[in-house]
Symmetry: C2
Subunit: 446 residues, 2 copies
């Protein structure tokens, strides 16, 4: 079941952390996303924190000061690990209990625990003073293809007469990704080298990609896993989802075009995948759950194993996504990033629960911390295309930047910034923070 609404979602809640009430903050007290950070103080130890305004509540420090006393032992232990995996493994009741306690601790006014405030203040760390890390040991990373608009656009370039393959509306298509090269936002993306072949040429050449692209995606972190051989019923799929981050699935389109048949993308993707450091929990997203976009007339309904009343009611997430870009020259000229496209997680053809249930339907075991990415979240409109391949239509319609520069694909020095926000009347607005990275040149060959 999707997480229910409760007192922690009350839009009238205020935190005594001033910046959590600032207009435009991603991290009001109704959000409380989890991450892992390092420094300053407490040695150089990695520790779990919760974002609140421009501060981080250090959970290890909270527990040492007994600010979260009374939590079950396994939960208190999980909060003091260097990754979120143990916490992820515990499941919704534990997550909910923890969220409640953190919410109380940070609340201003009568509903809060005002007498604990001085001690809690001592557990805050200013976010700009620390290094945000990839907080999860990701065992397996799976990248889906859940936007039908993306699939149709890419298909149209390859097969104008037959853009969408016959399996698309039945099967949540996916490929296994590379987990070793998943990095946190801020890590530069080095332009990879590889084999590419110009159309019409006989043989490929080897060199740096000329068609480096981003892909705007969301990533769903698995909570408790399932045993090998035991599928996950749709009715219980959401209990296996911990939370959501932003994912940039960097892609070398020229390498991809040459290598991908017949087994799918490999080196064109595995050089780097960036994720945002803060994981917004499924519980925090409860107010923004909506029915999936209606399927066009004539489309088959989802197979019974991918269907549930709950999924029809609230399986999708209404989260507005944006991609922005700033080039080296724009930075030099002091220009702000420009928005390249905006999209919404609602545009997906498959919901997170459907992705997870399909993934486990053959008995494949998911483990706590596994990452299921959505695939490029393009919407139906032209300005909702969520990668350059689509936006510039394979490079044929170049984008113009405010400096007069143009782009078919990414150039060295370009920085790509992904963001997401959830808004709903009568509820607070929450954000995901950023997933950003700058393109570095290819390593010089020796």
């Amino acid at each position: 079941m999707t997480a229910p609404l409760n007192d922690t979602h009350d839009p009238s809640l205020r935190s005594w952390v001033e910046s959590a009430g600032a207009r435009g903050t991603d991290f009001p007290i109704q959000n409380l996303p989890f991450g892992v950070f390092k420094g300053p103080r407490s040695g150089d130890q990695e520790r779990i924190g919760v974002a609140i305004g421009d501060q981080i509540l250090d959970l290890t420090a909270c527990i040492r000061r007994q600010l979260l006393a009374g939590l079950p032992d396994d939960l208190a232990e999980a909060c003091q690990k260097r990754t979120l995996n143990r916490l992820m493994a515990l499941g919704p009741p534990a997550w909910s209990a923890l969220r409640w306690r953190i919410s109380e601790l940070l609340r201003d006014g009568e509903s809060g625990q005002a007498w604990l405030r001085p001690a809690a203040e001592a557990c805050l760390v200013p976010m700009p003073s620390v290094e945000l890390l990839l907080g999860v040991a990701i065992g397996d990373y799976t990248d889906f293809y859940a936007s039908i608009h993306h699939a149709a656009n890419v298909g149209r370039m390859m097969r104008p007469d037959n853009p969408l393959l016959p399996n698309y509306k039945y099967v949540p298509i996916a490929y296994h990704g590379r987990s070793s090269s998943i990095v946190v936002s801020g890590t530069p993306v080095r332009r990879p080298s590889g084999q590419t072949r110009t159309e019409g040429a006989d043989a490929p050449v080897v060199g740096p990609t000329a068609r480096l692209d981003y892909e705007l995606e969301a990533g769903f972190f698995v909570g408790p896993g399932n045993r090998l051989g035991e599928p996950v019923d749709m009715a219980r799929a959401e209990d296996h989802l911990f939370g959501v981050c932003l994912v940039n699935d960097w892609s070398a389109r020229d390498i991809q075009a040459w290598e991908y048949q017949p087994l799918g993308p490999f080196l064109s993707k595995s050089f780097l995948t960036s994720v945002s450091p803060w994981i917004v929990t499924m519980e925090a997203l409860a107010p923004y759950r909506v029915p999936p976009a209606p399927r066009p007339a004539g489309d088959p309904p989802p197979a019974p194993y991918l269907d549930s009343a709950e999924n029809r009611r609230a399986g999708a997430i209404d989260a507005a996504l944006e991609v922005a870009l700033v080039s080296a020259r724009m930075r030099q000229q002091g220009l702000a990033p420009i928005r390249l496209s905006r999209s919404n997680l609602q545009h997906l053809y498959w919901t997170p629960a459907q992705l997870l249930t399909h993934h486990a339907s053959n008995g494949c075991n998911l483990r706590p911390g596994d990452l299921l990415a959505s695939g490029t979240v393009s919407g139906p409109e032209k300005d909702q295309r969520a990668c350059l391949l689509e936006l510039t239509w394979r490079g044929t319609e170049r984008l113009e930047l405010p400096t007069g520069e143009t782009r078919a694909f990414l150039e060295d020095g370009d920085e790509v910034i992904l963001t997401a926000r959830c808004e709903r009347n009568g509820y607070a607005t929450i954000g995901f923070g950023e997933c950003r990275a700058t393109v570095a040149g290819a390593p010089s060959s020796d």
Copy 2:
């Protein structure tokens, strides 16, 4: 560089472990493969061992008894872990030093350390008395497609006029596999359910696969990794390879045919992958290294980044592979497994070093314990086809079993057994042990 020949390969070496000298043993003193096992004694602790005849030399016990005194601290520590990853990270000089010491300890006669024998005997555990485990925490699993005979056969079924795609002879084709569902030999394989579509039908149906297949493969374990963004030169690729095991890449052909476009196989493979428990080191394989099979006239040479003099000299491995099958009825009638096919690792179009170097050529970081599988190792001859899809030509040419049963694909109760052996005149014959598993029925739906 490929590991050099040394004293540990001397065919005249004999072990005081009697079964290591038995005809037909896979594990003479010239082999010394590594694995991880559990029980009996030393509590229920997982520990690293080396196979010798029908015994296991318990390395933790050896170190506690100071039988390996003088090893560097990090090496001695790595030998006492519950997985092989730390040992794999140390690299060829450490592996070689350890192999030498173990070889000396187990040698009979003057060249050995006869005075240590009683203490070493106390470190032996009979192999049948223990549980052999998956001894490696596999971070990422990659499955290549390195047999051109397999690729051409499969291509011929799909595209009779154009069996081999234009990239095949340039790119070592691969896909990322699923690491969570890799299990050790002996674990039953449950028949997975999924979506399949009969040719000509409009919509798919959901149910147990009717086309369950095995794939005979070898797996290469990564030793020391490379840093993100830093490719691995061909000249150093072998230094990053620890050893080789057998891999059965179970495949549901009907699920695969329906799901695989455009991103490659996913649920048709991720339900289970079996590996053999013993890892034969690259050093043990030194006597059996041979030049790669000559490329047919007209084929392009490997790109410079995939070429080296050493690879041309000895990049391939001469290892004879076999698949055998025993059905439930054959077992009931007391019949021995029958051989379905035999092949050889020499038949691969790409060598292990080429697979590894290609994998890292975009800067993708490999980590100690990552598994690179070869893909189905079919040879040029009909009886060298290494999966049922090829052997029965998509089920059109059924195999006959000694009971009169026939097979297009695997039935419940069938057991598949993969084996491998290296032979060379003037050297000992070594084997890989077995990779076997029995097909269990699909879980009953609730």
